[in-house]
């Protein structure tokens, strides 16, 4: 297994109150997080640890746009994302199940 080289703690590195899918929904939206944080990290080598704890919570719309959008909009395969992404949430473990669902369901669409 590849070692973790990049760590993104959303609450510290992005914002502690992420909101919505698109720029029109607010400055800290899912599309921006995907384009400015996830994709640059994926362009580097190694695994990426994403720490979901510490925010005011996530709407599913933000999570779907951020992570499902990697497959739907940016051409990453769910296999590669399973290999490269490591998700951490001690506060609410159901976020991890939800994010993988978006990645897997966006496959082939």
């Amino acid at each position: 297994m590849t070692t973790v080289k990049t760590m993104i703690k959303i609450a510290n590195d992005f914002y502690d109150a992420p909101t919505g899918r698109f720029p029109a929904d607010g400055p800290y939206n899912g599309e921006r997080f995907r384009n400015e944080y996830l994709i640059p990290a994926l362009k580097k080598d190694g695994r990426i640890l994403i720490d979901l704890d510490g925010t005011d919570g996530y709407g599913s719309s933000f999570l779907e746009e951020s992570f499902g959008g990697l497959v739907r909009q940016c051409g990453y395969s769910s296999e590669e994302l399973h290999e490269r992404l490591q998700l951490k949430s001690e506060e609410d473990e159901s976020f991890i199940e939800e994010i993988w669902q978006y990645i897997d369901e966006a496959k082939g669409s």
């Binding site: 919505g20 899918r21 929904d25 709407g59 939800e98």
Partner: protein
């Protein structure tokens, strides 16, 4: 001498019996306390589910451009987060066999409330008979069932 040995034997037997009784009573008391603690967690989670349902209704009957919607969406996410903390804790201490997991039921409720056009400024107000309300109600009901199942599974 034989009488002395017999007395000591009786005393030791009584002490062992007392220890066993104390051990059994302590175990029963600890089990009772655990069930009580889990009941409190389950009741707290059910109250949150009901609050989230009410907040979601108020949120979706107004348009995304309404001035109250930002505050409402933050409240919904905050309540979902508190619910998620409780459910993650319950998930670690209670396992429901052959049923929907607490995490999945919670995820399904969050998706029914906050997926589609949640937090969109261009979202139109929903009619009171919009299918989203039925879906939220179904997912909330299922989560409450799973919470009760998890309590019942506690021995």
């Amino acid at each position: 001498m034989a009488e002395l040995i017999q007395s000591w034997g009786t005393l030791i037997s009584l002490m062992i019996g007392g220890l066993i009784t104390w051990g059994i009573r302590s175990r029963i008391a600890a089990k009772g306390q655990r069930k009580k603690d889990i009941r409190t967690l389950v009741d707290g989670a059910i109250n949150l589910v009901e609050e989230i349902q009410d907040l979601a209704y108020t949120y979706y009957i107004k348009a995304g451009s309404d001035t109250d919607t930002l505050e409402s969406s933050q409240k919904i996410k905050s309540k979902l987060k508190t619910l998620g903390n409780k459910i993650t804790h319950l998930h670690k201490i209670v396992r429901v066999r052959n049923g929907t997991s607490l995490l999945t039921a919670h995820k399904n409720l969050r998706q029914s409330v906050t997926l589609s056009d949640f937090e969109s400024r261009t979202r139109a107000a929903r009619q009171t008979d919009d299918p989203i309300f039925e879906d939220i109600s179904a997912k909330a009901g299922r989560l409450m069932e799973v919470l009760e199942e998890s309590y019942k599974s506690v021995k």
